[in-house]
Amino acid sequence: MNNTNEMTVSFTSNAQNEGFARMVVAAFITGTNPTLEEVSDVKTAVSEAVTNSIIHGYGDKDGKVVINASVTGRSIYLEIIDYGKGIEDVKKAMEPMFTTRPDEERSGMGFSFMEAFMDRVEVVSKPDNGTVVKMWKEIGTVGRQFE
């Protein structure tokens, strides 16, 4: 018997769907028996990745954001995928406080938050080929303390 539970959801890159994306992932990981704080951490990380896809991946254009989620025991693996314009320099994009849109009051903390709230974050992206954010989190372990 395979003990991995999987879920895929696809939705329009509309800012209204950010809340939906958080809710659906939070509901899906219930089986890992997370604390409220762990649920909150995952929701924030998902929100950051989905917001990036909507604002930076697609901008004014409409596209689809896909979330693949899988749970094995208490291990969570998430992929947030868009088919937008991609990231030219992933390393730079992941630097704290880096933003391409300071005029729009973006904080530049999105990737820092994902890294702080999840155990591991990887970004695969190519200009004009979209972006995949992969995130791992083990429920029931004391996470790294930030600051």
Partner: protein, 117 residues
């Protein structure tokens, strides 16, 4: 429910339950003319209703902070729950904006600052 309130140089944002990019954009658009047309002496972010926030919320706060602080206004954060406190602490925002437990604490400082004279 009121999203914000303005009177006599004081602007209070009653932040929503979920402060994400979608909510932050709405708040920015709706309150833009108040920030444009008035000299804000006190800006208060009330987190009483807020249970979720991401970095878009930080962008909203720092953006408004800059505009008010640059013109000599004071900025406060109040009624912060634990999950929100974690995000605000991580963002480093408490280094520039003071957190108060209750609105009464803010009113006290406003009185001391001569606001009600």
């Amino acid at each position: 429910m009121k999203k914000y309130e303005y009177a006599d140089g004081t602007l209070i944002y009653y932040l929503p339950k979920e402060l994400d990019h979608y909510a932050a954009e709405k708040i920015k658009t709706q309150s833009e003319n108040i920030l444009e047309e008035n000299e804000i002496r006190y800006l208060i972010f009330d987190f009483d209703k807020t249970v979720f926030m991401d970095s878009s919320g930080i962008g909203l706060i720092t953006g408004r902070y800059r505009r008010v602080h640059d013109k000599g206004g004071k900025v406060y954060i109040v009624n912060v729950k634990d999950t929100i406190d974690k995000i605000l602490t991580m963002s480093g925002i408490y280094r520039i904006i003071e957190k108060k437990e209750t609105k009464e604490d803010i009113i006290k400082e406003m009185v001391e600052g001569g606001y009600y004279e």
